[in-house]
Structure formats: structure tokens, C-alpha cells
Symmetry: C2
Subunit: 321 residues, 2 copies
């Protein structure tokens, strides 16, 4: 069994060596190669490989599925960047910013097709894997639509928010694990437990991200904090503060949302603390994290084989143990 970092470099080497894009048309495939060269943590493909290695040596089919989820994930990033009007991704120009809207749309489209082409190379279980993958792919689109819808709404409930981030982020992590497990010969029962592990881990990770963007230190988070507050982003913290706050606190929040005072971040953080939204957010991270580890415990394989998955979850959730 291999550690998270070993699997990252194993995947990265094959992925970059075996990129499927032809040379022509240059304006279509060069931006695809560019975007994939920007890297990323490769968490989804590694989850697929780990889900597979839980049941034995890594099967060649797991590499196909791992590449498919990574290509699909990057396709969604390219299109999300257009919808979010984002100029930068991983510190570099986004595709639509660098090559124009047409390239952004088409390069995403063709990368999605290459994801399916990679998946179609699996030698066994193709119909089953397609069902799992397609359901997830639809959900990711639905999550992105809900995210866009929520931008225009002021009455998003916590339940709706959790549902949205679950679709937008968590299900693809869960699907990656499940596909790896199914390729490894897992029963559907064990594969579904791994799916729940991945989904709850994804939720915990996203909520932690909300928390750290507000309360983390720049050194620890690796980016300027307070960005979500400045962008009026509807995070767990903001929704919970509006839910918990008394009339005066709600009013203060709404005034802050409508303005950009110099100390907006500091004022909002104080309101998050006053309404105990910070405590609720940490509790939610703990809740989904607990659910994730419970599901992992239930997977019927030798405890020792689960070590890399625990290691990865602890790394993502910045837990010390």
C-alpha cells in the first residue's frame, strides 16, 4: 500500500506523460495542455487509486478511472471560471482570460469528452462505472447551478447550502473512491460506505475552508484570508450568523453586506463570534468528519489497509492525529 504522496507522484507521472490531446487544432488542444499543466492536488484521482488499493494491487482500470475524474474535474473548473468571471486559477490565467471565451467553452467541452474516452478504456464493469460517473457528473452541474442561483438570493437556508456544496464538491470525491473500489472488486455495500466516507469528508473539508477563509492565519491557509467576507459570499458562517443573530445583529450584518468599510472583515468576524456562527461551523466540521470516519470504520477490509485513507483525510482536515 502506498502513501498519499507516493500515489500523487505515481498518478502525476502517468497523467502528464500520457496526456491524450493531439497536436491539432492547436487553438483547441494547447489550452487543454496549458490548464492541466497548472497542476492541482490531484486528490480525486488519488482517492480513486486508494479506493482501488483497499482491495488489492492497483488495477490498470483504476488509472483509467482516475484520469477520467481528473479530466472531468478540470473541465468543470474551466467552465466554472467563465461563470465566475475568474481571471486567475492557481495563480495563473484562466483559459477564457488567456485564450478567449470560445476557447474556454470548447476546451472544457472537449476535455469532458476525453474524460469519457478515458473511462471507456476500462476493461470491466463499464456500464456500472458509467452509471456512477454520470449520476455524479449531473450532480456537479446541478451544484454549480445552485451556487449561481444562491448568488441572487438572500434567503438561502443552511440545509440548502449544505446540499449545494455536497453536489458541487463532495460527490465527485465520493464517486472517485467508489469507482476505485468497484474496479477492485468491492461489494456495492462496501463501495457505498466508501462513498459516504468521501462525501462527508468533502463536506467537512468545504466547511473547514469556509472557517479558515475567515478565521485562519494567512501562513496556515496559504492565501489572504477574509476574501469570502469581502466578496459577500454566502458561506456557512454568514448563513448561520443571520440565522442565529438577534434583530440588531442581523441589521448590522445587512448594513455591512451593503457597504465596504475599511474594517469590514474585522467587523464581520466579530459578528460571526457574537452569534456563535464560528462555534457552529467548527462543530459542523467535527460532525461531518466524525460521520466520515465512522463510514470508513464500517468498510469490511483489514483495518491496516485503511491507513492511507485516514492519512489523507487527516491531511485534508488539518487534524493533528
Amino acid at each position: 500500500m502506498q502513501s498519499f504522496l507516493q500515489l500523487v507522484s505515481l498518478f502525476e507521472e502517468r497523467f502528464s506523460k500520457e496526456l491524450p490531446f493531439p497536436a491539432q487544432p492547436e487553438n483547441l488542444y494547447e489550452p487543454c495542455r496549458y490548464f492541466l499543466s497548472l497542476g492541482g492536488k490531484r486528490i480525486r484521482p488519488v482517492l480513486c487509486l486508494m479506493g482501488n488499493e483497499l482491495f488489492g494491487d492497483i488495477h490498470e482500470d483504476a488509472f483509467h478511472a482516475a484520469k477520467a475524474v481528473e479530466l472531468f474535474h478540470n473541465f468543470t473548473l474551466i467552465h466554472d471560471d467563465i461563470m465566475d468571471k475568474a481571471p486567475l486559477r492557481r495563480g495563473n490565467q484562466t483559459v477564457h482570460e488567456r485564450n478567449g471565451l470560445t476557447a474556454g467553452i470548447l476546451c472544457g467541452d472537449v476535455m469532458n469528452i476525453f474524460a469519457y474516452d478515458e473511462l471507456a478504456k476500462v476493461a470491466s464493469h463499464l456500464p456500472l462505472l458509467m452509471r456512477v460517473f454520470n449520476k455524479t457528473a449531473m450532480e456537479v452541474c446541478e451544484g454549480q447551478q445552485l451556487d449561481m442561483d444562491f448568488e441572487a438570493r438572500n434567503d438561502v437556508s443552511l440545509e440548502e447550502y449544505i446540499h449545494m456544496i455536497s453536489l458541487k464538491t463532495s460527490v465527485l470525491l465520493a464517486c472517485s473512491l467508489k469507482m476505485g473500489a468497484l474496479i477492485g472488486g468491492s461489494t456495492e455495500g462496501n463501495a457505498d460506505k466508501l462513498y459516504r466516507f468521501g462525501k462527508n469528508m468533502g463536506l467537512a473539508f468545504q466547511l473547514q475552508d469556509d472557517y479558515l477563509d475567515a478565521f485562519g492565519t494567512t501562513e496556515k491557509v496559504g492565501k489572504q484570508t477574509g476574501g469570502d467576507i469581502l466578496a459577500n459570499k454566502k458561506t456557512f458562517l454568514l448563513i448561520k450568523a443571520l440565522e442565529n443573530g438577534n434583530a440588531e445583529q442581523k441589521e448590522k450584518i445587512n448594513v455591512l453586506l451593503a457597504a465596504q468599510p475599511e474594517d469590514k472583515v474585522a467587523q464581520m468576524l466579530q459578528l460571526f463570534r457574537d452569534t456563535k456562527a464560528d462555534v457552529a461551523c467548527r462543530a459542523a466540521v467535527q460532525h461531518y468528519s466524525d460521520l466520515a470516519f465512522e463510514s470508513l470504520e464500517d468498510v469490511a477490509v483489514l483495518n491496516k489497509r485503511k491507513e492511507p485513507l485516514r492519512e489523507l483525510a487527516n491531511y485534508l482536515l488539518q487534524r493533528e492525529n
Copy 2:
């Protein structure tokens, strides 16, 4: 065996009854339903059914493949309309015009995923069908990219133009036939002959479209003619006229391209005639049409079974016989 019109209504009924989109999120799936309700000739799915019926009764799998190609085709139209900044499609608002850029992108993305989900329902030959479909899907994206590239170029050769329209339009017609045939138990040899029939028929159809947009009558074509000329579109006629013309004729064409005189269409038509681009275009339609019918002759099934395909080709190519 069923006629073209019988198969259109057979497909249309099932397609509209069995639309796969769920109710929510409304902003994602309502535009999908809207766009598909605008209709279209349903030529691709009917070609798939015809390719299948050539070898026996229509198999349930052929309906899945037929729906898949129609969903895929509509996905590409939705995204093409964004790239072309088109406000109208079939006389109605395009998705991005009606629901915004985000809806246009996401609704296309999810429709593509539903196309794959439909294809994955086939009970047999899934890996083979996926290979055929994926190759075509990539080519369609490549064709669209080349079309965009050509807009910015003034040195597009006829060969490049034919290659572009082949990718953008013809290969999906060819792929539809081939998938239907493979589902029907066709040998790869016969399926490839049908593929060539579809590809050459598609080329003939597209070149005829170029011709009719310039020289057709409004009654016969069903739309205002001369649109390509007014939009300076690089069609077979324009490329051929620049290739055939003497220095004076080329100069006249370039002057016309740079201006919008009231009689631009009439002047350009005269130049197409003077340079014999019109004759060359008709000859090219005939050439690809002949190639198509030759390939159809070579398919090893009873001649009588090919009648619906001949009928459809004659209808598309507006031939009298």
C-alpha cells in the same frame, strides 16, 4: 421497414415523452427542456434508426443511441450559439440569450452528460459504441474550433474548408448510421461503408446549403438568401471564387468584402458566376453525392432495404429521383 417520416414521428414521440431531465434545479433543466422543444429535423437519430433497421427490426438499443446523438447534437448547438453570438435558433431565442451565459454553458454541459447517460443504457457493444461516439464527439469540437479559426483567416483553402465542414457537420451523421448498424449486428466493414455514405451525404448537403444560400429562391430555401454573402462567410463559393478569379476579379471580391453596398449580394453573385464558382459548387455537390450513393450500393444487404436511406438522401439533397 419504415419511411423517413414514419421514423421521425416514431422517434419524436418517444424522445419528447421520455425526456430525462428532472424538475430541479429549475434554472438548469427548464432551459434544456425549452431548447429541445424547439424541434429540429431529427435527422441524426433517424439515421441511427435507419442504420439499425437495415439489418432487422429496430432494437431498443438503437433508440438509446439515437437519443444520445440527438442530445449531443443539441448540446453542441447551445454552445455554438454562444460562440457565434446568435440570438435566434429555429426562430426562437437561443438559451444564452433567453437565460444568460451561465445557463447556456451549464445547460449544454449537462445535456452532453445526459447524452452519455443515454448511450450507457445500451445492453450490448457499449465499449465499441463509446469508441465510435467519442471519436466523433472530439471531431465535432475540432470542427467548431476550425470554423472559429477560419473566421480570422483570409487564406483558407478549399481542402481546409472541406475538412472543417466534414468534422463540424458530416461525421455525426456518419456516426449515427454506424452506431445503428453496429447495434443491428452489422460487420465493421458494412458499418464503415454506411459511415462513408453518411459522411459524403453530409458534405454534399453542406455544400448544397452554401449554394442555395447564394443562388436559391427564398420560397425553396425557406429563408432569406444572400445571408452568407452579407456576413462575409467563408463558404465554398467565396473560397473558390478567390481561387479561380483573375487579379481584377479577386480585387473586386476583396473590395466587396470590405464594404456593404446596397447591391452587395447581386455583385457577389455575378462574381461567383464569372469565376465559375457556382459551377464548381454544383459539381462538388454532385461529386460527394455520387460518392455517398456508391458507398450505399456497396453495403451488403438486400437492395430493397436501402430504400429509406435513399429516400432520405434524395430528400436532403433535393434531388428529384
